[in-house]
Amino acid sequence: MVGDNIEIVIVNVGKEAVKIGINAPKSVPIHRKEVFVEIEKQNREAALSASRMKDFTQLIPELKQKK
């Protein structure tokens, strides 16, 4: 058990891998770490591009017409 209401279970034991599962209430979000790493990377790329943002604002009127 992790805390009071999260349970880690062994679903399957194989030669090369062990499959684990997680039982948790619906109120608890569960995500693989790779997802967080990917999102952090996206966020970082998005944050530090001030010059591209400036150029982009010029394009917005044209892009809205294409939608």
Binding site: F36, E45, R52, L63
Partner: protein
């Protein structure tokens, strides 16, 4: 209330007070030190707007109203996530998705997998990772003319 100033790399000097700030109770992933932002909205740029960090002026996110481009977009966040923003009614939550601008700006993408939710009642905000596998972190916003129907 005391007026403060942030020097935005895109918008220049902006005056604000504490009341103007959006406070991230669940930080933007990778930016755990920056919790306070100004939400900059300019009518002519809608549905795009910006979150400008006030503690580090270099940090600025362009976001969009995802429903402008994706009418069927669905957000389900957990009870604990709603509680972190004290969000009692779904209607009080404004949704934004972060936009990435590549070198060809027509290929802009938005992160539908991890939207930002702002509680309009208290200006608490968070970035939440959706459980839904069909949403991607880099979803193209613009459809190419020759890809109609994709």
């Amino acid at each position: 209330m005391k007026k403060k100033v942030v020097n935005s790399p895109v918008f220049g000097q902006i005056e604000y007070t504490e009341n103007d700030l959006v406070e991230f109770k669940k930080p933007i992933l990778g930016f755990e030190e920056c919790l306070k932002y100004l939400h900059i909205v300019k009518e002519e740029n809608l549905p795009f707007s910006w979150f400008q960090a006030v503690d580090d002026s270099n940090i600025l996110f362009m976001v969009t109203d995802p429903f402008f481009f994706f009418k069927d977009y669905e957000i389900k966040i957990s009870d604990s996530e709603s509680q972190s923003l004290q969000l009692k009614n779904p209607e009080d939550g404004l949704i934004f998705t972060i936009v990435s601008i590549p070198s060809d700006p027509k290929k802009i993408t938005t992160n539908l997998k991890a939207p930002i939710v702002v509680n309009i009642k208290n200006k608490y905000a968070g970035q939440f990772v959706l459980n839904n596998d069909k949403y991607m972190t880099k979803t193209p916003i613009l459809k190419e003319e020759n890809n109609a129907g994709v």
